[in-house]
């Protein structure tokens, strides 16, 4: 189980609820950061993901390594949170 999961979202993002729903279905807790409420964090997310898009999910593993999943991409998200 990951140590920590953070999802970066916006108000109108359609794929963001799907990522959250997927994590809930797996019983995984997550922290959500809305980039419209926290525009100061946009540059940080862009730096981590290399993409100006949401959702961005950052999965921190037990050994503190991180997986960055861009979009609603189950083929990447599922193994990242496994």
């Amino acid at each position: 189980m990951p140590k920590n999961i953070t999802i970066y979202t916006t108000n109108t993002c359609s794929y963001c609820p799907m990522v959250k729903q997927y994590l809930r279905s797996k019983g995984l807790p997550y922290e959500e950061i809305n980039l419209e409420k926290h525009p100061e964090m946009q540059a940080e997310v862009f730096e981590k993901s290399g993409a100006l898009t949401v959702p961005v999910t950052i999965v921190t593993k037990q050994d503190d390594t991180q997986d960055v999943v861009i979009g609603y991409n189950l083929s990447r998200l599922a193994p990242a949170v496994a």
Partner: protein, 374 residues
């Protein structure tokens, strides 16, 4: 013991699903509502977003039943919940190939092989790329295909929207919530509905439409260094002169590309644009494999028509499954107005007295034509 359980688990060769629906957009969910209500064991397989392109559409104003319109995401959620209420089961994963094994269809998926008596391909479409220099290099760093996802990053910034159809106009109007100004580049003329064009005119203070302007290149700071888009270079088709549009980002809506890769290399035919061909009963050349929605050749690419096609496909699939169970109807019943009752009675195992009324010539020979490819 484990092997025995595996061999008899639902979806295995020995215990196939009645129906596997590939996709979970409006056509797929509509079909599932119908088939599940008919007690047809139905599994949906979705690789991306439940609701498909509808789920990422900001606002849907032309789907019947919602006087004030509804957000695409909310509409998709309602469809999903409705299908699940009747027992539809949605699994996440990708179907990569479909194979005809006679009475069964084998679907190779990222989660393993699954077997079904019939399959419905409702994989929809995705937004096409323009195919110009810079488009791939700046993808998600200035080039976007989803306004509801990425529009918020462009608050008080300049944008270019490429395209002149319904999606381009609708999403362009949506982006005025964020952008300070939008240049809309339209290769020929606007092809959006009158309602949307009127909506566009209401936003002329923020959107400038450039008709007859091609999009030739998306340029900016070096992409390798994390650089962003700074301009779009196009051609004014009237004067032949190059034109430049300074911008912070580009949103592309230039039509749809069908998600039909899974049938390539099979007997299933595609049209010249890659959409899947069917007969009038929505069945492909592979018996038992049906198609509905935006991936079908001839589809009108509307949420309402996709839902309608899903319902139609469900009824055709029910007929197909019944025909597989009972074999062809006796010739005396084919095309008869009571053929339907005969079919239902056979399915439920009741004894039947075939009405001794001659077949009515004006009724379509539906049952015999079902197996024929149009």
């Amino acid at each position: 013991m484990e092997e025995t359980q595996a061999a008899t688990s639902r979806g295995s060769e020995s215990l196939p699903h009645d129906l596997v629906i590939v996709g979970a957009g409006p056509a797929a969910l509509s079909a599932a509502i119908y088939t599940c209500r008919e007690d047809i064991d139905t599994l949906l397989f979705e690789k991306g977003a439940i609701g498909g392109l509808a789920a990422v559409t900001d606002w849907v104003d032309n789907y019947p039943g919602f006087e004030k319109g509804i957000s695409g995401l909310e509409l998709s959620e309602q469809m999903r919940k409705q299908a699940e209420r009747f027992g539809a089961h949605i699994e996440l994963g990708e179907v990569q190939k479909i194979e005809d094994q006679g009475k069964l269809k084998k679907l190779a998926t990222t989660e393993g092989d699954i077997f079904a008596k019939a399959a419905l391909i409702a994989t929809g479409s995705e937004y096409k790329q323009i195919g110009v220099p810079g488009e791939k290099e700046y993808y998600a760093r200035g080039v976007h295909y989803c306004a509801t996802c990425d529009g918020a990053f462009y608050r008080d910034k300049k944008l270019v929207v490429v395209g002149g159809g319904n999606s381009a106009v609708q999403e362009g109007v949506f982006l005025t919530k964020f952008a300070s100004h939008i240049d809309m580049l339209v290769r020929s003329k606007l092809r959006a509905s009158d309602v949307l064009i009127k909506e566009l005119e209401k936003h002329k203070d923020k959107i400038t439409v450039h008709l007859g302007v091609t999009t030739d290149e998306i340029a900016g700071d070096p992409p390798a260094g994390g650089g962003k888009v700074t301009k779009v270079i196009g051609t004014d088709t009237t004067s032949g002169k190059k034109v430049e549009f300074p911008t912070d980002g580009v949103f592309v809506f230039v039509g749809l590309k069908p998600n039909s890769d899974m049938v390539k290399g099979t007997v299933i035919e595609l049209d010249e644009r890659g959409f899947i061909k069917t007969n009038e009963h929505l069945m492909t050349k592979m018996p038992g494999v049906f198609v509905a929605g935006d991936v079908r050749s001839g589809a009108t690419l509307q949420i309402a028509s996709a839902s309608g096609e899903g319902a139609t496909a469900a009824l055709m699939i029910r007929e197909y499954l019944e025909m597989q169970e009972r074999g062809p109807l006796p010739q005396a019943v084919v095309g008869h107005k009571y053929a339907w009752h005969f079919s239902l009675a056979k399915r439920s195992g009741k004894s039947v007295i075939t009405p001794a009324i001659p077949a009515l010539a004006h009724l379509p020979a539906f049952f015999t034509s079902l197996s024929g490819y149009g």
